[in-house]
Point group: C2
Chain length 313, copies 2
């Protein structure tokens, strides 16, 4: 199968490497020139479960990719959320009307952008539990097992989803067809949306936030807003399950001592956050469905304000 | 007149000193033992518009004041907001049914506490423009001019207010009867409520907050909540005036480069804030009047959460 990995960071490199080793025709597309140069020169290097491997995979800067001759059967999207639209523009000339697009980005609402470039029936959404570490330009570390759930967005397109499941499984990516992928994606976003922005704003780890007096009240208000927006789209989101998962994240013996990635992005690395693709989507959909979402709105505004004050880029 | 200054910090010391020099029988009540000891030993020292003066005024720790023989005609309240209830308990045995109580605390809603100790018709609310600096235990610096507006809370009690205006004016405190003191107090609290908590949370000065993209939207939402609560109590609060005053505070050439006192309290000095007496009052009154106040609620929760994370006391 002819596959574009659009966004060849840590996770994109894992998927590209495993799919290429399974004899698919893979190209990587990215915007980080140093990484592109390293892979062009030395191949994609990986510590793959302890074994040092080198995979020769073509890689292109997204600024130049439109000129190449490659007609994709499948695109796997792995960009940062704010780079998605730009990436889709860059690769649009390589898409045809049968090209399937699998979105594996963090956050929610990406289909609203993807559908501007791809027929609705060709869009697949997924949730992956694989991990990957970027060790430097052209070099990743791939350890442990993972899985991926995915589903077609268009009604009756299960065959499209199953075709992609099969390709991923041939590459050992442990894919499963999901009958409610939007629920899984909303659940993950809701857990992030109730914790990440707050820890970023308050400058604390998840456990420190979790043990404060108002944590439960704030979290419940945010979760209620996610559920109202999910309901309006007939996406089922179970409040008790979400709250239980958030509560378990407060535990210092699980992930409580971690600072969320948004804190790393903004406070540690002075980078713009993905808040618009977590709480910000709830705000946007709230306007669309005329549902009040004051906590997500205020939190999104506060994170953007903090970005501006810190001069994040 | 027999006057208790309840809370003899910088401002209480100014009022106590000026009223004592005008031949009133004044006692100071405070909780800071070092300050009390210094005044008992050396008198209240002040640099009073350039002149070094010493005023011998009795001062008591609020823990011991209940045992003294002093029947107050007037109490002027100058505590921190969170110390008010405790102070009123401490001095309650010195109050009689004619004692007038003038509240000059920052913030709003203090009458809800005062009325538990004092007949409604004896309560006066005021707003003062005087300033004062505490230079150390027993020593203040008093420069410049000021004024004070005040009004009776009980209907038809203008005579009570005017009596106090006269006593204050005899001491040079430049007092005026106000026909709408609650409007002035709400206006001041609204300006503070739209800026102080946010700068504290975001760790920035007023100008830095003011120039961010979402500042206007956030400020307007908070101001709308103050106005809704003021309306419910028939307190007039002019939106354009409030917004204009907030906007002028963003100017780096006026007070824009200052960090609000709440930022000093919490971030610099690790002290609990007065948020419950600014935005928190809007939350409390919102519940009472069944008016939704999500921005004030979330902001109050966030400031308390930050207090807990920093272990503020």
């Amino acid at each position: 199968m002819k596959i574009i990995i659009a966004g060849a960071g840590a996770m994109g490199s894992r998927f590209g490497l495993m799919l290429h080793r399974a004899d698919n025709e893979v190209i990587l597309v990215d915007g980080w020139q140093e990484h592109i140069d390293a892979i062009n020169k030395n191949g994609l290097k990986a510590n793959f479960n302890g074994e040092e491997v080198v995979e020769r995979i073509p890689i292109y800067n997204q600024n130049e990719v439109s000129t190449i001759d490659f007609s994709a059967d499948l695109v796997i999207l792995f960009t940062k959320a704010m780079q998605l639209d730009n990436m889709l523009q860059s690769i649009s000339s390589l898409l045809h009307e049968e090209t399937k697009v699998l979105c594996l980005l963090n956050g929610i609402g990406h289909e609203d952008i993807i559908k501007n470039y791809v027929p609705y029936n060709n869009i697949l959404l997924g949730n992956t539990m694989w991990t990957s570490d970027m060790e430097g330009p052209g070099k990743v570390k791939l350890f442990g097992d993972g899985s991926i759930d995915l589903q077609n967005l268009g009604a009756g397109q299960e065959n499209v989803a199953n075709e992609v499941v099969e390709v991923l499984n041939q590459a050992g990516l442990n894919a499963n067809y999901s009958s409610n992928i939007l629920s899984s994606i909303y659940k993950k976003a809701c857990v992030n949306g109730a914790v990440n922005g707050l820890c970023t704003l308050l400058g604390c780890n998840i456990a420190d936030f979790g043990k404060t007096t108002y944590a439960d009240a704030i979290v419940e208000q945010i979760v209620d807003e996610f559920i109202a927006i999910a309901d309006a789209q007939e996406i089922s989101l179970n409040k008790d399950e979400v709250l239980a998962q958030i509560k378990s994240s407060f535990n210092p013996e699980t992930i409580g001592l971690h600072y969320p990635s948004m804190h790393q992005d903004l406070i540690v690395n002075n980078r713009l956050t993905e808040i618009d693709y977590i709480n910000g989507v709830i705000v946007r959909k709230g306007k669309q469905y005329q549902i009040s979402t004051p906590y997500c709105t205020f939190l999104t505004e506060l994170i953007h304000t903090k970005e501006e004050i810190l001069g994040a880029k």
